[in-house]
Symmetry: C5
Subunit: 359 residues, 5 copies
């Protein structure tokens, strides 16, 4: 399990490449996925679905004003020119284009000129590895644009639903499509958290095992990763509520309950994250306490051994002295007497230790 957090942070750091640039000039500051730009258009209505694939954004503007709902997905935001062309064609503000091409943009939603922009992180889990991707979704009347860098995303079931024409999606407008896209992202938050929870479960089990120790490094890394996840999810609550409260009838009255449901899901994700975080802190505290209890055990054992043998060794030392005139040495019961002394001192020590309940 890893959130590929180093990458993420490295990319965010490139934020400083922008310094000195005027605002509203889109510059790509992230890693380039190394794949060509791909534009996929799905245009649908109650009657049917039309799909297009292109490698540039030319001639897509016509979809803006058609009666059908159009979803244009662009893979490869490193190609700033295409993003700019598409964004401008659909009337997005220059600052938004800057946000779309900046993979370090904070999750948020904005409403300007009857258009909505949502930027957020999507998490997908492949083989237990959580990878994050910056996603931007712009929506207007009748169309939704989605922007990402790498091909492959969390929306394949949604595409299937559109194509099959089952369910509600083909009968609803672009506001419902926007909801469906966000819902797909949030649904994967649950998957990501469950991946982390499995790790926390393992750590807890280990921490309660008497003879084993949690690896500190793991707690540390997990805490950092949960913090990163939290920073991605936290602003989503406000973003969803911003979309929901967008005035000028962007979101239809009948779609509002779906957004409220989405909002509840985000809150639940936050809850689960908080729980995971508390559990990790609990494991850390348990680890600290267990470490200090074990130190006690070790020192207690050392003390017992030392306390018993140190006086005995002393007595043996005494009768190893070479004085000319040591009466005990000449006694015929001298040797048994020495043993008696030694065992007596040991017994006294044991008795003392038992009286203090250290044995």
């Amino acid at each position: 399990m890893s959130l590929s957090s180093t990458n993420n942070r490295r990319r965010a750091r490139k934020r400083s490449l922008r310094k000195g640039l005027p605002p509203g000039v889109p510059v790509y500051t992230g890693d380039v996925a190394g794949v060509p730009v791909n534009v996929a258009v799905i245009d649908y209505g109650t009657e049917g679905v039309e799909e297009l694939t292109a490698s540039s954004t030319d001639a897509l503007q016509r979809f803006q004003h058609e009666n059908t709902v159009t979803w244009i997905n662009l893979d490869g935001i490193h190609d700033v020119e295409n993003v700019k062309a598409l964004g401008t064609a659909f009337g997005l503000h220059g600052l938004w284009l800057e946000d779309i091409t900046n993979p370090a943009t904070r999750s948020k939603a904005e409403v300007m000129n009857d258009r909505i922009l949502v930027t957020c992180k999507a998490f997908s889990v492949v083989d237990g590895d959580v990878t994050a991707e910056q996603i931007s979704i712009a929506a207007g009347k009748g169309w939704v644009l989605t922007f990402q860098e790498r091909p492959g995303d969390v929306w394949d079931p949604l595409r299937q639903r559109i194509r099959s024409g089952g369910g509600r999606i083909r009968r609803m407008g672009s506001d419902y499509l926007l909801h469906a896209l966000l819902d797909g992202i949030v649904d994967h938050y649950f998957v990501a958290i469950e991946t982390f929870e499995a790790v926390v479960d393992g750590m807890e089990a280990e921490a309660l095992e008497p003879t084993r120790a949690v690896e500190l490094k793991q707690i540390f890394v997990l805490k950092n990763e949960l913090a990163e996840l939290r920073r991605a999810v936290w602003p989503m609550r406000e973003a969803v509520s911003t979309v929901m409260r967008a005035d000028s009838g962007q979101i239809g009255e009948d779609v509002i309950p779906y957004y409220r449901d989405l909002y509840d899901h985000v809150v639940q994700v936050m809850d689960m994250l908080e729980t995971s975080r508390e559990r990790v802190v609990g494991v850390y505290e348990l680890h600290l306490a267990v470490t200090s209890m074990r130190l006690n055990d070790i020192m207690k054992f050392l003390t017992i051994v030392s306390t018993i043998f140190i006086p005995m060794t002393f007595i043996a030392g005494v009768y190893g002295m070479n004085f000319k005139d040591m009466p005990e040495l000449q006694w015929s019961w001298g040797y048994p007497f020495a043993w008696a002394l030694m065992l007596g001192s040991a017994a006294a020590c044991v008795a003392f230790l038992v009286s203090r309940r250290w044995i």
Copy 2:
């Protein structure tokens, strides 16, 4: 005592089974109790009570418009079709049906189209074991539906009150019934917390006992369980206040004081939980401090023993050397002199230790 928390978490985890599904499609994601669906109807008014039991939800719609108050309880939400049929018959939104069949739904109240949905956790205590169950309560004018998975619940005294016709319940409407149902749930919160408090009491007593140690594991488990309880109770405050503030006259003016009372109870539960949590943290801190004080005691003892015997053993060692020419060995008072040296050094050590107040 156990909150059967693992089960709970495992069920919550299945949340990811939903990924890719459109919203509003009810899917049961919890454990199946393994019992057949059971529907119990109680229909009452000032004049009398009528009770029905069924194994499906057919033909219940007629209760929606009668003048009496109807309470329909459904055990077995894993049977999604029945839930769907009942919910649709009483005009519940598809998203609500999804919430009802999802045992991981967060506690909340929602108001839509003159209907109220409350989802929450109910706790029942059997033999000191606290078990949680997801409960959904939907209410409209003249009827209340309750949904749960397992048979048996916290409402038997309420059923008794309805049947006996004593008290206020038979004279009041469905808004009072909704209150009574929530009140029953919250009353059991007190029972659950008291179960935990008994454990905390025991832990505190143990922690203050000088010769015993609290089991760290117990603190750890208790903290996690209290956190879980807290996550269940916390949203209830908002839920109750949402119901109370529901506009369009859902809750009658004369019933409002009862909801305010309920609200106070929820706040009191939260208070008690907070207290328990603080006490557990206190026990943990006490444990840490006691552990470190005991380490001090142990090390002090080892130091005292070592400090007294190490110089004595050294002196014995000196006079155990085999040099040809060691004047002391030939002295007639050599042996007593050695003892004097040894006891003197021991006395000096003891004096020093006493001066530092370690003895």
Copy 3:
């Protein structure tokens, strides 16, 4: 010093006895003080004072509508019937009667039908022991009812003031009497906190004493008791402000400044409690740090002693070996040479320890 907290908690626990009862049915769930019910009436106006004592609540209703101000105090809320009779006579809601007879009710104020109910904890200090009592105060136009379990309370100076007729009290209405009652309770909060502060003072002095240790148990108990006090005082702020903001002219314009003053006092109590809490935490932290510094001192000492003697003992051991052919043993300066070796090694150790500033 003790807050008789165990009692308190035990009583609160009996809260679960109520489970299954309909709301609004008063049941006494606390300890019974074992004294008969006592009702004391003080009826006063500008002209004079009339006092009555009774053992039941019959025939008190007439005071509700007289022009004078009436204060009826009832000791012994375990006698639910009397409470019910009195409350009903003065028009209190059934839920309020439940609150009055429940000694675990949270401090709060409520306004309903031109009546005010304040429930709170009163603390009295006898011989350094703080005892808590649940007090309920119900007020209406021209009358105030006070309910408590045990005889004896914090209001004797107030009774004196009413009887003597000095000051403002006889010229003012029941809103001022309500203020005076609350003021008496809050004044005793100061006394209770000062009792705790004296304990904290002692603990701080002890913690700073170099050779003594605070008893951990004391810190622990004090923290719990301060937390309990805090839970009693905290809701008073909201309660006072609820009374003050009661609409429908319950509290006269000229009495408002007195309530504002009371509010300030409650805030000051909270401030003082917060200070005490912080100081106790400080003592705990100091204790932890002192414990760990002392461990350092102990271990340093053990290390010094061991480091000096271990090499010396080894050298003595070497020359205690019995090899046939050990040249040093035959040297005439062998013995002094051994001493030189031993003292030299000791000196080297000391020098090393000094260089690391451990001596």
Copy 4:
């Protein structure tokens, strides 16, 4: 450096002397400075300044209605009669008189009947010692009263400015005078904090010094004193904003920016205090970590010494045994062989310790 905190607390404790007294009865509950009452009047306008000194408050009422601005300062609030006379003459509410004579009153501002009362703590620094004094400032149209116990205050530069007639003060009203008085107090907060910051600077430098230890006691005392300062400053923000927002034109439109400036200063003081507090906590944490690292160093050293010498001593012991038949003892190379064994075991130990990087 000391905040004379014990005094302060002792005085605050006497708060309980009031218990049972009706509100609005001024009683002095602080220490008596032991100086006679002194009343100083400064009456000024654009034309000139008139100064008066008196030992009682008689005949000062005339200043209330004159056109000039009058500042009456009273030293010695223990003389409750004078305070009462002056306060009543200028129309202050009885509760305010109680606040003025109570040195434990929380910092606050109140507005009643066109009058403003500000109570706060003033800090003055003499020779590095911070002393606190309770100050009350009452202001009305054209006059300001200041009350304190001890002679000498933070306002001498202000008096100078009034006398000299330079600057803005002589041209402005009593609202500006009130601001100037508060500004003088807040200016001295900076001085007090800087005194504490100097101590924190020293502690930080010491904590980072490798061979020295911060005295725990100092951290503890400093934390308590900063907490006390914080409790004095914190409510000032609300007090200033209460004065600023006083309706009924108490504060002129042109003076508002000065109050806003003052407000900014209070916020900055709070910021600085917060910084100091965080730094002290940092020093405490550093101290804890350094202590535990030093323990590691000490134990590591003990372990190294023990590990090297214990096996060697054992070998020496073996060859010190007196068995009749020990072949090694007869070898001609026996003694060097023993040394080889001993040095070899020491070398093995050192090699092991180096391999674990403990040396």
Copy 5:
């Protein structure tokens, strides 16, 4: 890396030099950079740019009312007279002049008489060293004044953009210039944080390295520096939002999105700071836990060595005693018997230790 924090604090401390001065009198309380005052004027419009340099502020007033946008930058705020002349010419309030010349002023924005004042800290990074400078920006219709002490700032790219005439800047008004100035400052916040993040990255890597220890001093210093950065950045959020919400049309409708974008950047900076802070705390906790685990390892090793050798040494001591009559000494298998005893005791110890999983 260092935030030159000592300087900063020293300067802030001089705040007390102001005590006793009336408000609104500008006094420079910071370090003097030791350079002559320099005034640089850039006056631009759609048609062209005019640049002026001067060493005093005379004759600049004419720019206030011209139709072009004028940006006057003043280096050297220690020359209070020049600041005062320039400020007065452009109608700034006296209190603002005080703020401008005070390098300890908290970051904030104020709006008075159609003028905006923003004071904040700008950070520039030279060779990994972060240095802070207090910047004040005053803006009115058609002009912006910037005040700083040292020459050289973060705005050179902006100057270039104005001169080149590319982009939007030459076509926009002074509200956009104000935004561009703030944007330049906030852009450098990212650079400063990235400098700190690089240090945190290094510390984390070190902390996870098993054989090395983070230097505690570094954690301590870094925490203090991050806290300082945070105190500088935190108020910027409110400042930007104050500017944005300035009524009376100070900020044009079309420029608002740019301010919103700036606001987002400030929030992102705060987020990054919070992350860094959490990571430093994480490193501290990890350090503590690692230290205590290492102590365990050390003590375990000492205990193992002692436990094995102490009994063996005792046995050797026993047979080193000189009693006349010790049968074992005469046995022919005595010596091997002793070895058997010793090795047997060692084996028993090892077995015991293995059974407790200490080996």
